[in-house]
Amino acid sequence: MTSILDPALLDPALQALRTQLEAAAAAFAGDSAHLGALLRAMIEDVQRATAEPVEVFPVKHHSPASALHMLRRLRARAPKVIYMEGCEDLNASLAGLHHCRFPVALQAYAPEAPAFPVDWTPLNVVLPLTEFSAEYQAIAYCLQNPGTKLVFVDRSVDHVFQWMPRGGPPPGSDDEADDGGAEPEEAEAEAGEGESAGNTGNLHGGAVGLQIGAMQPTFGDFLDVLLRNAKVRHYSEWWTQYVEGPTLACDYGTYRQVFFLVGSLLRRIGITEKDRVADCERERYMWTRIREHMKAHAIDPREAMYVCGAIHAVSPIPEFGSKGTAWTVPAKTPTQWFYGVVPSSYAAIERQFSLPAGEISIAQSMWDKGLQALDLKPFKIEAEKKESENKPTVRKKAAAPAAASAPVDVVPAAVSGAGLRDFLTRPPTFVAADDEQLMRWCVEIVRLARKNGYTSSTADTIAILHTATLLARLRDRPHPSPYDFQDAAVTCLEKDRVPGRRDVRRLCQILLGGDRLGRVGYESLPPLAQDVYDRLAVLGVNLKSSRIERALLDIQGRPELLPASDLLWRLRYLGAGVRPIMGERTLGHKPKQESWDIEIGKHQSSLIQLGYEGLTIEQVLEKRLKAKAFEATSRAAKALEAAEDSVLYLRSGRLTRELGLRATELLRAELGGNDAPEIFQRVRGLVHYYRTLGMPDWIKDFVSTGYRHYATLLPTAFTDRGTAPRQLAAMLAFIFTQEALAFSMGCERSQLLIAVAQAEPDDPPKIALRWAAQWILGQRSEDEIRADFQHLLHSQWLLPAFPEYMAGFLLALEFTPRISRLAVEFLSRAFAALPDEVLVPWLPKLVVTLRPLGSGVMQTLVKEAGLAFPRELGKLEAWEFAWDRSVPVAPPPAPKARSEVKPAAALAVERSPVELAVATLLRAEPATLDALAGLLGVAPTWTPLAGAPEAATASAAEAEAEPVAEPVASAADTPLAQLLAAHPEALQALAARLQALT
């Protein structure tokens, strides 16, 4: 076992390899000096890493080969301590990994970070873990075996951000592809914009992603050459074919050396200079930490294992190794970090690290296959058993695998450089062909395709198999890889693209395992999330489901659901994966029934992040509301909104009062009326709401402050061009509508009187507003206002300004519906008097002015207009404006008149004396009309003429003949009668004729 650590044993073989490579370089490359130097350096890297007393374990992220070797290595020889690449402070969140369904991600989160640029916050780092990664196996092993300690040694999360270039885009957002898409700290954050609908790709949100063992070449040209020569499309495909597959089954020593070699290649020519510098920085950090830890705990370097990306394993820095030079770790910023576990998903990982889609599921299938082939049992992080039985089981477990794995374990690391040499010189051994698996895939994909609406059949199965084999041969592979299979399936199955149908590539991904969404178990959740789960349990929906769950709350029938409803509203306010479908929450609204879409299972991470901010949802909500109201730039309207939200969501009088007082305070300091419209709306709502419950003093305080404040501001607001008429109107509205409450708080109207008297507006809308205010205050009579407007209409020079006056006047509707009659009057006059060139351009503006006033105002206006205008066409002739009548007598409204007439009696139409005379005459000489009625086909019956002279008939024939024909129905309702009433000329002529005849 010590052989691996003994450089003396290694050197000869590697030396031979080195000589051979140098010879090759000389033979093949014209410029052999460079190539030779490179190859030599690479071999030296391998030698150096192999010779290091601390067992360096090179890995690549999500690499099944690494995981399998880790598994076997740990079974064979357990180190005392495992140092791992990974932010050192993430150690804190390891404990939360129990009870989780993988993939999950370790998270560090800082809601506030004053030390960093403002647009970076909240700082968020995730480190996704999948089950088939070496790091997972190591973590699982250490969690099961307390004898081995796991220590993360990489720079802390804080340093991740410290070392990011300032002034760039916020980390985690869609970053500019600088060189190869990778940030110095391998944070290839690709997430950010664009919600990918329906899948979990955006799960990490704007977090910065970290990986253990990132090995992505970032130097574009290198990557191009690599891919072109290997005839593959992605780097991962290259990796799978040339490194992953061959190392899967080889022995541990060879595995290490191959990884060192590839790491060295990438490090030397595959990554950009920027990345190389950043890598060195991190390696210094890691080795410094390792040495510190070993010294502190008196650990022999030989008993330690260092798990890191292959790139870091071959670092040339002087600090490398257990005997490296010292280095001082830079200080952290005082940022406070929270640690936890959030769910992740394959799609999210692929997206975060810009891997080709389906990559992780392919890795998983390789892992499963490898486990099966090597007959291994992986380590699993399992929920801790009860304390009493914990220890024995662990021991047993630790012992059992060792025994079981003994036959499996291949040459426990008795390794010489010959391994690598053999590996490089023999033709690549690929994973043994698995025809059965390929066949199964072919059958499955056809079945799946058929299920998804493709017309695929057994013939396609054969064709796919055939094509896949041919493709593999074309691409120098003895056996089709999953990529070949995918291409073959697409070639043979996809005939045309139908929108809405899954394409074959996607089906292949589903077949190979598909996306998998991780879940953090209840026990590992922060208290806030646990609390939410507990309190929502009453709804009876599956909160762990990754689909949308619909919850129906019949609060009236089951009042015990009300707290759950409250909680859902709070969650919605905080944006944690719930959405109301039916139901509302407004001031004073008593919920009866609600229905909700609950997606907590999918958005678990947002809930977990809330958990960093407080212990309960209420606490977080309170914090947020307070932050909103108390931040330095807050305004009265915002604070008032927070107060209103606190009433809606928290029902905490104390908090509301605090926020309300803050709003008052802010209002007092405000200099203009910019927010007046919003403040007015909110205050009106709140006062209305509190009227039934009893006014709390803060709202009284706010109203009286507002009254005084706005009254003080009025003179300036009237003259100041910066205050819009709408804002001025809102100020007046505040004053007039809340006047009663303000008076009860000791305000006085005299203040307002003086203020209005001071106002000397220049703008037409404000002048009109002032008139309205004065009218309410009794300083100006209706007639005076009318005279003012008449003056406008009659002066040719003022006429074009009329619409502006009107606009201002209409704004007053908001606080006094009383002026609506005047408004209707003026509008009518305007329509009558204004010339087209003023009227027509004004009309759209009028609509725009009226719209924000709300439906209530419009209703009053329409009602008023209805009273002012005649209801029936027949009355139009005799009609005149109510305000035009010299005597302000209100004529008996038409409907009233109608209700007075007897049902059998005729029309509610007045008759002139002439008509009355005609009617009397007709009754005296009925013959003509009888004949006419005979011709029309109705029985001639004469109703006696109502005795009183005012009772009348409109015109002879209609009045007398019709009602008789249909005595029951009101004559005015028959179509004929209406027609006749509309066109009385004919009958009038007839009547005149009759009169002439007599």
Partner: protein, 413 residues
């Protein structure tokens, strides 16, 4: 066996020798791929050691090399140029399909290089790319199977001699690749004549008796069809026929780098016909590519069909524009390509429908082309390197280009 009557294909098909290539370039406006690249093909065949399916001239791997070109890693004695620019896996899939039991149907927008790829594939597999049936609305089953030389039938009755085999039948008889261009342009009944050819691999001639009555396909025969994705829905393939074809979709090239290569490659080739050797200034090329990229983006962002140009804005379209501009400046201008000329060619090429296309281009020209800065800003610096030159709005080429385009647009009134 082959009948001299059918197509010019047969006249040519007698093993194109490399020596004749130079001579025939004088007599032929356009040489088929197998003649043009005869030397390359012969070389590749000589170094090819891999097994060849059927009677193919080259192994699949060599065909791949022939089409996609060889890199330094392949260690060939002569350069093999890249002839088709596109996803390598697409070509691989096409080659593999030909080796399998199914026909190959290349689908794509006009101008994406379907026919070119088909020609290359046919040339590489069978050394003859001229067994072509052009699908039109007037294509009949006779064009796919066979017809009769009426005079000979009257004289001597129906026999193999009096039969005129179609290009496809000829390909079957020789074990070569048959090509069917624009498959979806002909009616479904005519298309379905292919079904039996693709599955049974023989054609029966009921008019003849005995052994004569069936024409069997020799190994190596397969079909390469092309279809235009713009024609989708006009003559939908029957399910039975679909099943016998593997569909390979050729996307419009959107990668700037490879598009640039294609445009240069093709334009050089076209210009060589006129023995004009031109150097397209890189800025001109950038202007052209950028304008097309912007036009594509604008097209993609419009909802209604009316707001789209009729042109598919493919790479072939760009080549057309550039060729037009080059010829114009060569014959009528001062040899060097001027931005104004380019703009006029662009407008002239893209305007197909007079009121509609002009107004769309007019809008584009004034919204996007003049404010290239704004257009650039929206796409994040992915093409920082390429767009660096035209990005500076003041560049005189851009201004001349914009002015030329406006001038060309006004002339449409």
């Amino acid at each position: 066996m082959a009948k001299k009557i059918s197509t010019p294909a047969n006249i040519e098909s007698a093993a194109p020798a490399p020596a004749t290539a130079a001579a025939s370039s004088e007599t032929k406006l356009r040489m088929p791929a197998e003649e043009k690249y005869a030397a390359e093909l012969a070389y590749l065949a000589s170094v090819d050691k891999d097994p060849r399916p059927f009677a193919w001239r080259l192994s699949p791997r060599m065909i791949r090399t022939f089409i996609l070109g060889a890199g330094p890693g392949d260690s060939f004695d002569r350069p093999i140029a890249q002839k088709f620019f596109g996803d390598a896996s697409l070509v691989e899939r096409a080659i593999v399909t030909l080796a399998s039991d199914r026909g190959l149907l290349l689908i794509g927008d006009p101008g994406t290089g379907k026919s070119w790829l088909a020609e290359l594939l046919a040339a590489a597999t069978s050394g003859n790319s001229t067994h072509v049936v052009q699908g039109t609305a007037g294509t009949t089953e006779d064009h796919i199977k066979y017809s009769w030389n009426v005079a000979m039938v009257i004289a001597g009755g129906q026999s193999r001699e009096s039969m005129i085999p179609s290009p496809i039948m000829t390909a079957m008889q020789r074990g070569e690749m048959g090509r069917f261009e624009e498959l979806t342009r002909c009616g479904s009944d005519v298309q379905d004549a292919l079904i039996s050819i693709l599955s049974e691999k023989y054609i029966t001639i009921p008019e003849l008796r005995g052994d004569e009555s069936v024409v069997y396909a020799k190994p190596g025969f397969n079909m390469i069809a092309t279809a235009n994705s713009r024609d989708r829905g006009v003559n939908e393939l029957s399910t039975a026929l679909k099943r016998r074809f593997n569909f390979v979709t050729i996307p419009i090239v959107t990668n700037k780098k490879s598009e640039k290569e294609i445009v240069l490659f093709r334009t050089r080739e076209l210009m060589a016909r006129h023995t004009i050797s031109v150097d397209v200034p890189p800025t001109m090329l950038d202007i052209l590519l950028q304008t097309f990229a912007d036009l594509r983006e604008a097209t993609a962002n419009t909802a209604s069909e009316d707001q789209r140009l009729e042109s598919s804005l493919s790479t072939a379209e760009q080549i057309g524009v550039l060729e037009d501009a080059l010829l114009h400046s060569n014959f009528f201008g001062d040899k060097a390509l001027q931005p104004g000329t380019l703009a006029r060619s662009l407008v002239g090429t893209l305007v197909r429908r007079v009121p509609e296309d002009v107004s769309i281009l007019n809008k584009f020209w004034h919204a996007s082309a003049t404010e290239t800065e704004g257009v650039k800003k929206r796409k994040k610096g992915e093409e920082a390197a390429t767009s660096a030159a035209p990005k500076s709005d003041k560049s005189p080429e851009w201004e001349a280009f914009v002015a030329g385009g406006k001038q060309a647009l006004t002339s449409f009134k």
